[in-house]
């Protein structure tokens, strides 16, 4: 509980402090000064209108990817699994790229074509995964699911590159930028849109912690202790894929968060998924807010793609933690 409180404070602090940093310095005291009307309070306007949406997007994407990573690693019993493992990210990338290349121009509830198409792409990949998990009931091992996911990723990425190859330069450039991940959202609309599938996924996640503990002993051992393995796998795969799809359609396939954050958190809180799941959600949020802060300030006014920063900051930090322990 104390640990979760600590991670919560970290995530909340990041949400509150990160919007203060930027090209125009603003002060927290003035932002929340109720004596100045909002229309006259420039600090509050910058905080709530210009910067907070982006910080909240980072928080959502970070926690969505981190929790999906935890679930995929546990359910596939493989510490190298990540939100990309089952092809969900690749599906999202394909959807986004098709929308960019063919100049799709539609929107739904203030969400524009690219995030909608990428979410649809991730759902398409999820449908294939779901079919695979049904086939798995006929006594196949998790290894089959893992290999099928890797194959699906390779296949979808090849299609992405094929369409890229045929597309013109502007579209290719846009696609490449999207694939690097960016949290530059306009307003709260996309955030609200991403919260809906994430809320659905959260209901699934809430049933999982102890099941994931048991599943990491193997599906037979879990079944012997009373876990309905087929149902648990289905809930886990669907929830994690929904969460990944929502995160990727909001921020692009931000690299590394989904694999590094779960392991970082396990090094701190241990293996118990009742701690690992919420702690990863909170730490994933704080981690990506921090990385995005670096991305938009390090070379200001030039903005780095956040996916590059996550790997450049996260990689060495994770290596240091691993070898310090050994």
């Amino acid at each position: 509980m104390v640990t979760i409180g600590g991670f919560g404070a970290l995530a909340f602090g990041a949400c509150l402090l990160a919007p203060l940093v930027g090209s125009t310095p603003i002060h927290l005291a003035r932002v929340f000064d109720r004596s100045i009307p909002f229309a006259d309070n420039v600090d509050a306007q910058i905080f709530f209108v210009a910067r907070l949406p982006r910080v909240l997007a980072a928080a959502l994407v970070g926690s969505g990817l981190a929790v999906a990573g935890v679930v995929f690693q546990a359910i596939l019993r493989n510490p190298l699994a990540s939100p990309d493992t089952l092809g969900v990210s690749a599906g999202a990338a394909l959807g986004a790229m098709l929308a960019i290349t063919f100049h799709a121009d539609f929107s739904l509830l203030s969400v524009s074509a690219v995030p909608l198409a990428s979410f649809a792409g991730s759902l398409g990949a999820l449908a294939i995964v779901y079919g695979l998990s049904a086939a798995r009931r006929r006594g196949q091992s998790t290894m089959v699911l893992l290999l099928a996911g890797v194959t699906l990723t390779a296949l979808l990425s090849a299609v992405v590159r094929f369409v890229q190859y045929l597309a013109d330069f502007t579209e290719t450039f846009q696609t490449v930028r999207w694939l690097m991940g960016s949290l530059d959202v306009a307003g709260y609309g996309p955030i609200v849109a991403a919260i809906v599938p994430m809320a659905v996924a959260s209901v699934g996640f809430a049933t999982l912690p102890r099941v994931l503990d048991l599943m990491s002993l193997g599906s037979e051992a879990a079944a012997a202790r009373g876990v309905d393995v087929t149902r648990a796998e289905r809930v886990a795969l669907v929830s994690a894929s929904l969460s990944t799809g929502a995160a990727v359609s909001l921020g692009g396939p931000v690299a590394f968060v989904g694999i590094i954050v779960p392991h970082l958190v396990r090094l701190i809180v241990g293996a118990d998924h009742r701690l690992v799941l919420p702690a990863s959600a909170l730490f994933g949020a704080a981690f990506l807010i921090g990385c995005d802060l670096v991305a938009r300030t390090a070379l200001a006014p030039v903005e780095l793609p956040v996916g590059i920063v996550t790997a450049i900051i996260g990689g060495p930090f994770f290596l240091w933690l691993l070898f310090r322990k050994a």
């Binding site: 510490p79 051992a221 202790r225 009373g226 309905d228 118990d272």
Partner: protein, 260 residues
């Protein structure tokens, strides 16, 4: 009363793994499943544990078909100890034992003080109380197996299925696990079904034995009646000397040579 009633099973349609297997184990019985590799012992344990569905026949526990019980209800009645246990992540010994409490908890319920007390009692019963805070992965094979048995005890089931529980253990741990199982059976009246290749372990431990050969029951009954030189020869193709050992207090099997 555990009853296996005319069970048949096949993984692939053309090759039957079990054919018309029947036997029963009364409350408090320690039943040994013996047979060569591929004779269907592990499959039979999976069918009893309800993780596989038989093609024909059924497994009943106090007259209830195990396939009609929910996973949770079945786990309260039957616990399983596999040959080896690996964890993907770094769980402590206490974590592992507490996992046995899963079928007794509601969907969002946390383990209470009584569950922790039951886990500690199970650790004490298996002589592993001092290991509680250790990382499971750092234990020796014998320690791991005792912890997994403790986890099964925490499950508080009346039937314990053990799949070659001593196969990867040295002689000292083999004796220790055997003594532990005998004691648990005496103190708690737990019914046990143990598959093993170790005939002397079976002789020391089991009150009844079922011999499996190519998926069919070759013989079943009291250990003294079934564990004979002639059955050992039929089962394994080995000439063996089977004698009552006065110091051990049970039959012993000394293999002599491959029979022709």
């Amino acid at each position: 009363m555990l009853r296996v009633d005319n069970i048949s099973f096949a993984y692939e349609r053309s090759r039957a793994v079990l054919q018309g297997v029947s036997f029963e184990a009364g409350r408090g019985t320690i039943l040994g499943l013996l047979g060569p590799n591929g004779s269907g012992k592990t499959t039979l344990l999976r069918l009893i544990a309800g993780t596989l569905t038989p093609l024909t026949g059924r497994v009943t526990l106090d007259a209830a078909d195990v396939r009609r019980l929910s996973r949770r209800d079945l786990a309260r009645k039957v616990a399983v100890v596999p040959q080896e246990t690996h964890t993907t992540f770094d769980f402590t010994v206490l974590d592992i034992v507490l996992m046995g409490r899963y079928p007794h908890l509601g969907a969002f319920e946390l383990e209470g003080a009584d569950d922790v007390a039951i886990a500690h009692e199970a650790l004490s019963a298996t002589g592993t109380a001092h290991l509680a805070p250790r990382a499971f992965a750092t234990l020796s094979g014998g320690e791991k197996q005792r912890v997994v048995i403790a986890s099964a005890l925490a499950q508080a089931s009346s039937v314990l299925l053990l799949d070659e529980p001593t196969a990867s253990l040295d002689l000292g741990y083999q004796i220790e696990i055997a003594a532990l199982l005998t004691r648990l059976n005496r103190e708690r009246g737990t019914t046990m079904v143990i598959s093993t290749h170790d005939l002397n372990l079976a002789a020391a431990l089991c009150t009844e034995i079922v011999l499996l050969r190519q998926g069919q029951v070759l013989a079943r009954g009291a250990t003294a009646d079934v564990l004979t030189a002639s059955n050992v020869r039929t089962l394994y193709g080995v000439d063996a000397d089977v004698q009552f050992h006065p110091r051990a207090g049970h039959l012993t099997v000394v293999p002599i040579a491959r029979a022709n």
